[in-house]
Subunit: 367 residues, 2 copies
């Protein structure tokens, strides 16, 4: 089902330490002309998935990551194109969109011993955390942001997301593929160059697991799909709709967890990015860029945000889960952030100080 | 089952706007001598609990809280005792431990209209968010912290926690009582005066709900209690034990979510603070103060932490749930915080860069 846009060229090369790097788009014209000239040791990845028996979920323990690159000065940005003075992660002197395996990945255990801890017969259960972590550079321009991209350039990112979602889903041991962007120091971003990430998890994530349970229970009760009915309820209510396209609806959800949170759903339910029709993919870019620009206008400075593509797991739930994007900022007012403190981090009990109807009204006005 | 320590005096007074304030301990001697001399309007609390149908959980929407007190200068600290120059939340000129209803509560809807939004028959379901939010001042000393308290003073806090847990559990509509402390600006604390909070939720929190589901499923499978067996497994393994007392065990859990995270369990399982035996209460204070001081030594400066008392819900699960405290810091290295970014906030998938066995070893050495 991989949907690879024929207009976007894709070229895979290998970095000095064996990691894959994939150029998407017209630039560079001949990627093979730019080999990685660095001396890099192969990274050992010691990642375990450990079972939290009380919460019924996996936690990744990744001890090798403590020393990763941390806010380097701009001249050393590893996500800029390579220059005469600086050999970066991207060997070419220019690119449109590029994806590569993270040098400090959370997932992708290289050591089978990572599954040997614990008492596998009892309650202390672990296994090597396989899977893969990739970095997506949205633009070669260090000071740009996703919101600065042209719709055509954003469409190349979309192609990369869909391509990676399909390819990673086909890898052994991958159960869920997650494309996301963390933006802003306030969210802990260590590299300011515009980029996102892709996690290919070796398990269904706790949040998706809960959503699929809700879908199953709703199906048993009503015979219907929960996502379809929720989208219909939001469309009927109207008060929280931010943008309506021909193919997409953007709304602040009724029970938003974050001060400014928008969910973007395609009108026709599909399980993942690879299954989106061409017209829906094209329209998404326009609406999404519009939304990001509204977010940046909320408080007169770039919004710290998390943008998250929710897709069906690879082997389960594709008939019920609805692909959608969730975008939210942790800024609740000028100079004030929403922190996940005792109630949220301790009990999972969220409190939102911005009324969703008011948030939607604000976002509509910022058009 | 309220366990009120007869040695600790408790006096309840009423603040100018009708809120309750309760002194615990020897000071002040005659609380009634200190009436609240401020002019305060009654606060209107507009709090809704809205149902997130996908996650199957309630979210509080509390629009009235956006303008609450934010990091005032010290001379205006509302948690210091009242002086000739400054009328604070605490009318007395001195106190040992004091608890009062939060003036800007997340919970405790005063307006029945807060349950009228949504389409109650369909998927957009809400109700007034009843319950109560209290503030616990641990000490009159503005620059102190919990770790500075004497064991006797900490025992008075413990008495206050147990008293409030029992009293709030008895209030109509309260389903779970949660005593916690957020410490440090890094965690979003807006008042630096040493204090904690108590939330009396009108529902079982999402995290406790999941834990009780795990307990039920473990009971069905094995006929045993999950908490008992997990504590036994940690005690047998030894590698993550930080402190062992006669009544309490402190350990880094096998699948810790946070860089430095310690769980403190009483040896004899009880559902809540009010049911703890006297000897266990006394020993807790010693171990907890020791632990907090170790946390502050981790990185040579006060640790930003969340300390969370997990108790059984009021009307459900008391036979399975085990009272315990979870203490964790979000600092993972000097100058580096653990952020809940895309994987955690988007997917609920935690990654921990500090290996639990190494965290426990570090904490043992800091004694």
């Amino acid at each position: 089902m991989a949907h690879h846009d024929q207009r976007v060229r894709k070229t895979t090369v290998t970095l000095a330490d064996g990691r894959e790097l994939i150029y998407f788009g017209a630039v560079p014209e001949r990627p093979a002309d730019y080999p990685d000239r660095r001396q890099l040791d192969r990274v050992q990845v010691h990642s375990q998935a450990r079972r939290d028996q009380l919460l019924g979920e996996w936690v990744i323990v990744a001890g090798h990551r403590q020393d990763r690159t941390f806010q380097p000065v701009t001249s050393q940005c590893p996500l800029c194109p390579t220059t005469a003075d600086s050999l970066t992660e991207i060997p070419a002197p220019d690119y449109e969109v590029v994806v590569f395996e993270n040098r400090f990945p959370t997932l992708g255990a290289t050591d089978p011993d990572d599954g040997r801890e614990g008492d596998q017969d009892g309650l202390l259960v672990c296994r090597p955390a396989r899977g893969r972590c990739e970095v997506v550079c949205f633009s070669p321009v260090h000071t740009a942001s996703f919101a600065d991209l042209t719709p055509d350039h954003a469409a190349t990112v979309m192609t990369a997301w869909a391509d990676r979602s399909a390819e990673l889903a086909a890898q052994a041991g991958v159960e869920q593929v997650y494309c996301f962007e963390n933006r802003g120091e306030e969210i802990g971003v260590t590299l300011s160059h515009p980029h996102g990430q892709i996690y290919a998890y070796p398990y269904i994530t706790p949040r998706t697991d809960r959503v699929l349970q809700s879908c199953a229970s709703y199906r048993r009760r009503t015979g219907r799909n929960l996502f379809d009915d929720l989208l219909a309820a939001e469309q009927a209510d109207l008060r929280r709709i931010v943008l309506q396209g021909r193919h997409w609806t953007a709304f602040v959800p009724y029970a938003a967890h974050w001060p400014y949170e928008v969910h973007l759903y395609p009108r026709r339910r599909v399980p993942g990015l690879a299954e989106l029709a061409d017209e829906a993919r094209a329209e998404f870019c326009e609406l999404y860029l519009d939304l990001l620009r509204r977010f940046d206008r909320l408080f007169g400075r770039p919004a710290p945000y998390i943008s998250a593509w929710h897709q069906a797991p690879v082997h389960y739930g594709g008939d019920e889960f609805a692909l959608h994007l969730e975008l939210f900022t942790i800024r609740r007012a000028p100079g004030k952030l929403k922190y996940l403190a005792g109630s949220e981090s301790g009990m999972g009990a969220f409190a939102n100080d911005v009324v969703p109807e008011a948030a939607a009204e604000r976002l509509r006005q910022l058009g």
